[in-house]
Amino acid sequence: MDQVTARIAAVLTEKFDVPAEQVTDRVSFRELDLDSLSIVELYVTLQEEWGVPLDAEAADADTTVGQLVDDVRKLLDGRRPGGD
């Protein structure tokens, strides 16, 4: 597991009481029992942590952990010197 995935998994288990074994790339927020406000709270927390403009408006209950990981990675890559 890479650093971004590991950190998101840690936030989901520590802050939202999601059982660690449930966190996979393909699982959706709905399957993790996160309602819309929990999704926003998750995004705000990750925004603060990495200082990236994650858009919670673009996420919904069907968004998967894998999609969130991809979004964070793209934002972090875009920020690196020499990135696009």
């Binding site: 406000l37 926003v40 709270e41 705000v44 925004q47």
Partner: protein, 337 residues
């Protein structure tokens, strides 16, 4: 340094309590009591009787604050989003009904941050020598602008009014204001609106009835509220020279329990110092913070002089925080049939 202190506290609530089941039935909402409680923390709210206006609640809360202080105001500031009329302002009529002839009186519009905006403004007026005992009222009747069929907002709001009387005080006096932080971001104006009825969209024939209701983009507001409340509270705390651990009371605008918990957690404040009335009263807009100040719970739990932080976020977008010590005043509470 000369300070301004809260020397009187008053409140007025409509008698009628409306529970979640009733809100759901009225609006034929696809919702449940359990869903509303889990999403918002709200169990019931008060609702003004037909014919009761914001100014009526404001008059009784103000009279209660005057009785609590046993002193007459010489300036009236009324924070509201639901004035009695688009014109004139509600504050002069309130002052008149309170028997305060010729006092300066004006409304202040900063939506849910309105009471703290008015409190900080009144503090500055006293310190500038413009008045000696300003009355600051937060009053709203959102039942007049909320769409009963809008699942996103119908269950959130309640009606009410709260008021405080301020007076010049020595540094260290109970109730003395120590610092304020105010801010706004009009880039987020579209997140919380009543679109029509102003000069931008007069719609005098009401051809677009939907545009006259209060609307809120809840998820966007959640993120903005958490960020701005946390930042503003932090700035006011720093300006007061306090650390989070110094606080004995934290009173945030009663918008949504999940937002309140998120902000208090970010500030590192333990549950024992968090005070609110959301469960029983819902979001009472400009009235929410003074209604908590008038509440029995914190009044019994807190000694006068306890370091206290008030913080609010609302449409505009606006945010405001005030650091003060817990007042010595005994609140006077009124109920309106």
């Amino acid at each position: 340094m000369p300070r301004t202190a809260v020397v009187g506290i008053g409140s007025c609530l409509p008698a009628r309590s409306v529970d979640n089941e009733e809100v759901i039935a009225e609006g034929r909402l696809d919702s449940s009591d359990e869903w509303i409680r889990r999403r918002t923390g709200i169990h019931r709210r008060r609702r003004a009787a037909p014919g009761t206006a914001t100014g009526d609640l404001a008059v009784y809360a103000a009279a209660a604050a005057i009785e609590s202080a046993d002193a007459a105001p010489d300036f009236v500031l009324l924070a509201t989003t639901t004035p009695d009329h688009p014109c004139p302002a509600t504050a002069p009529a309130v002052a008149h009904r309170l028997g305060l002839p010729r006092v300066p009186a004006l409304d202040l519009a900063a939506v849910c941050s309105g009471f703290l905006y008015a409190l900080a403004t009144a503090d500055a007026l006293v310190r500038a020598g413009a008045c000696r005992r300003p009355l600051v009222i937060g009053a709203d009747t959102y039942s007049t602008i909320v769409d009963p069929a809008d699942r996103d907002t119908a269950a959130l709001f309640g009606d009410g009014a709260g008021a405080v009387l301020l007076a010049a005080a020595e540094d260290g006096a109970p109730g003395a204001l120590r610092a304020a932080d105010l801010g706004s971001d009009g880039g987020g104006a579209a997140l919380i609106t009543v679109a029509a009825g102003g000069s931008r969209q007069p719609d005098r024939q009401r051809q677009d009835p939907d545009a006259h209701w209060f609307r809120m983009r809840g998820r966007s507001v959640y993120g903005q509220a958490v960020r701005h409340l946390t930042d503003s509270a932090g700035r006011a705390l720093a300006a007061a020279g306090w650390r989070p651990a110094d606080l004995g009371a934290f009173v945030a605008h009663q918008a949504n329990q999940r937002i309140l918990d998120s902000v208090a957690d970010r500030l590192g404040l333990p549950p024992a110092v968090r005070f609110g009335n959301l469960r029983e009263l819902g979001n009472t807009a400009a009235a929410s913070i003074p209604l908590v100040l008038a509440d029995d719970g914190p009044q019994r739990a807190l000694a006068p002089g306890t370091p206290t932080l008030l913080t609010a976020f609302g449409g505009g977008l606006t945010w405001a925080s005030v650091a003060l010590t817990w007042p010595a005043a005994t609140p006077v509470r009124r109920t309106l049939p």
